[in-house]
């Protein structure tokens, strides 16, 4: 996906004025907030579980090499193959290599953010292989040639009208005047369309929510069951996973799953949770003949041991973006990269560089709501601040901001001078706003006054008044 992160401000402006998008975003609260809150309230040990989740991930990251080796050995023992890929290029080549070797013409795909990170669909198409998205949200995005706007609800930015319109346009073999009475009808039509594709696919590609070291398994959770068909029907199953998906044991995975569903959709458990271990064994009723894991690094191992390591705990539940007041206003596409919202604001600069994605960690009020709902307690605001520090160190912060900061810092370090400057400032502003108690316009303050008035100060500073009062009392000022 081509990043438009540098244009975040412009993207955001457009998003705010996009009525359809705003209508779709208004669903965030009913669809996610209440459900999560209820699910959390229904599990008294949820807070403790968050600590457990954080600790499991921290432990795994601290011994990642060990668990990766154990996991890889177990994958191979079960007849699978691991493809270690340092970069997105490596991973694309690995996937294409497998597909070409088995002569694949169609590839079905379950939902996978790594797939987006790799831009695998475009890559396969360029080489004459047809990828077919089987997740309902991804399916419509493929029809519309749009990237996802949300990490668990990829088509969250669309309204029902958009769905109907796209289906009518794409499924021209069906009667044009058919009526979609309810959401179900859309689902049914998509299912009918996909059924034949499932059976024709030579390769099935899925993501992985977790990799389990002790068994060599990969785990996916879905609510549509499309992932199961994607990975069991074709002869070859490719799992796209990044290395931080690792957990040590099945028991750890269970704990993480309890956190994931509640944080993501407010379910106690997702409808389908599927563990895949290696290839079909003798006597197995189904399963692939080949099982590959394309294991992507793409900058992640470089985060180990840095101030960004905690970000690798992320289990992609989307709670942070669902609860982010900025995401809720601008939607996912404005971020201009694969991962939106607070987690994306931390992750994207590692993927495309903070010089490209600098707006993302800056476009936060540090309200902390993301951190307060994150199931693995990632200190997201702190990490965004770390990106701002890197920007500042590398002189990427805009010159005007630096100059203002330097000036302000110079004065604020000198309380005496500060008293003088603030007295003048407060006095002037207070005088300007004395009649109405506020200002509607002010030079150099357009950012503030475009959408709101500037309340006028009382006029005197606290310290000036306090000094006067102390003198009046005969005290020392």
């Amino acid at each position: 996906m081509l990043s438009t992160s540098p244009a975040f401000k412009e993207n955001a402006r457009k998003a705010i004025n996009d009525a359809g998008l705003q209508k779709a975003l208004a669903r965030t609260k009913p669809q996610f907030h209440g459900k999560r809150a209820k699910a959390v309230a229904g599990l008294p040990e949820f807070e403790r579980l968050r600590d457990i989740g954080r600790d499991i991930k921290n432990h795994t990251l601290a011994h990642l090499d060990f668990y990766l080796e154990t996991w890889a050995a177990n994958v191979e023992r079960a007849g699978g193959q691991v493809h270690w890929c340092a970069s997105a290029d490596d991973a694309r080549a690995a996937v294409l290599g497998i597909c070409e070797r088995v002569g694949a013409r169609t590839v079905t795909k379950g939902k996978s953010m790594i797939s987006e990170e790799l831009g695998i669909n475009e890559h396969l198409e360029q080489h004459g292989i047809t990828p077919v998205e089987t997740d309902l949200g991804e399916y419509i995005l493929q029809l519309r040639h749009e990237p996802p706007s949300h990490i668990i609800g990829p088509a969250f930015h669309l309204n029902r009208e958009d769905w109907e319109e796209s289906f009518r346009r794409a499924h021209t073999d069906l009667p044009a005047d058919r009526v979609f009475h309810e959401r179900r009808d859309i689902l049914t039509e998509a299912r009918a369309k996909l059924r034949a594709r499932f059976l024709a696919a030579d390769v099935g590609i899925t993501g992985a929510n977790f990799l389990i070291a002790e068994t060599g398994s990969s785990v996916i959770v879905t609510n549509e069951g499309n992932g199961d068909l994607t990975q069991t029907l074709p002869r070859v199953h490719i799992v796209l996973a990044s290395l931080e998906k690792m957990v040590p044991t099945l028991e750890d995975a269970t704990n993480m799953l309890r956190l994931l569903a509640r944080s993501a959709t407010g379910q106690d458990f997702s409808v389908y949770t599927t563990f895949s271990t290696g290839v079909r064994r003798e006597g197995d009723l189904d399963g692939p003949e080949e099982y590959h894991v394309v294991l992507l690094d793409n900058g992640r191992s470089a985060m180990l041991g840095t101030e960004f390591q905690d970000m690798l705990r992320c289990i992609r539940c989307a709670a942070c973006m669902n609860h982010c007041p900025v995401y809720n206003v601008v939607g996912g596409h404005a971020y201009g990269s694969v991962y939106p919202g607070p987690m994306g604001a931390v992750l994207t600069p590692t993927l495309i560089g903070v010089d490209q994605a600098g707006n993302l960690p800056n476009a936060s009020t540090f309200c902390g709501r993301c951190e307060s709902v994150c199931p693995v307690k990632i200190p997201l605001p702190k990490m965004m601040r770390h990106w701002r520090e890197r920007e500042f160190e590398r002189h990427l912060t805009p010159a005007t901001v630096r100059t203002n900061l330097a000036l302000w810092g110079f004065v604020a370090r000198r309380p005496g001078l500060y008293r003088l400057v603030t007295r003048i400032g407060a006095g002037a502003l207070g005088w300007l706003g004395r009649r109405r108690g506020r200002l509607s316009r002010l030079p150099f303050a357009g950012g503030w006054t475009a959408g709101r008035d500037l309340p006028a100060p009382e006029g005197d500073t606290f310290f000036a008044r306090y000094a006067r009062e102390q003198r009046g009392k005969g005290g020392r000022a």
Binding site: P415, T422, W448, Y466
Partner: protein, 254 residues
């Protein structure tokens, strides 16, 4: 151990100093009524958040050093802001990671720092403050106060004990869009956020909106007044200290 009459240093905050001194005097009154000896160290300016949150750790650290100097010898440091309170309590020590000595000093200072309202209730054990008030208010939970310092029930309790009716917003805990420099760096997003907030406030039908942070209040008042709303905006300390007569609501003329 709580001393009978603790020595409290007031951290005025730059916004209160510059914009609304009455909040500082309200804080002094409330603290004195609670039995504290209040002092206002003169060598204070700002908690350093504008620098800290812009990635300029050096400036933030310099200011933090000044704070360590000015606020060293007190039993408590009290701040009429959840945001600056959170800065002193949670972030100041992180600026001295390379210096165990200073770090220890910063941690000791952090442990003695409280936001005003929660100090009155949680440290001084106040169930109510002097005076009486009436009317309906709605309370905006400023983000740092709520999520860094756990301030939620305390101001509501004190307000209700005064006789005020608190009408809750649908989302009192959602950010108003101020965010320090955020509001001028991303004005469209910030304006949209504060518009949602003002709609939520209006829907309560309350006469007044209160909060414990002047940054949020300036933002909220700025939007409400731009929309022509009659809802009054005040810092919670003004109401608790019975000083609403001393100054018109934020953004209104006397």
């Amino acid at each position: 151990m709580l001393q009978a009459s603790p020595r409290v240093a007031l951290f005025v905050t730059c916004l209160v100093d510059l914009h609304r001194p009455t909040v500082g005097f309200a804080a002094i009154r409330l603290l004195e009524q609670a039995g504290c000896q209040v002092e206002v160290p003169r060598a204070q300016t700002c908690c350093g958040q504008p620098a800290y949150n812009s990635g300029d750790r050096d400036t933030a650290r310099d200011l933090a050093l000044g704070i360590l100097e000015a606020f060293g010898g007190y039993d408590y440091i009290v701040v009429p802001s959840g945001s600056c309170g959170g800065m002193l309590r949670h972030h100041l020590p992180t600026l001295f990671e390379d210096d165990p000595n200073l770090r220890a000093r910063a941690e000791a200072l952090a442990a003695r720092t409280y936001e005003l309202v929660s100090f009155l209730t949680d440290v001084m054990g106040l169930e109510r403050v002097a005076g009486a008030a009436s009317g309906t208010v709605t309370y905006h939970d400023s983000c740092s106060g709520l999520r860094e310092l756990g301030i939620k029930a305390q101001p509501r309790r004190l307000l209700e004990a005064l006789g005020v009716t608190v009408k809750e917003m649908a989302d009192p805990d959602v950010c108003c869009g101020f965010g320090g420099t955020f509001c001028v760096k991303y004005p469209e997003i910030s304006t949209r956020m504060v518009s949602d907030k003002s709609a939520d406030i209006a829907a309560t039908g309350a006469e007044t909106v209160l909060a414990g942070d002047l940054g949020c209040l300036l933002n909220i008042a700025g939007r409400l007044k731009r929309e022509g709303s009659a809802v009054k905006v005040r810092h919670v300390a003004e109401v608790l200290a019975g000083m609403t007569g001393a100054v018109p609501p934020i953004g209104e003329a006397g």
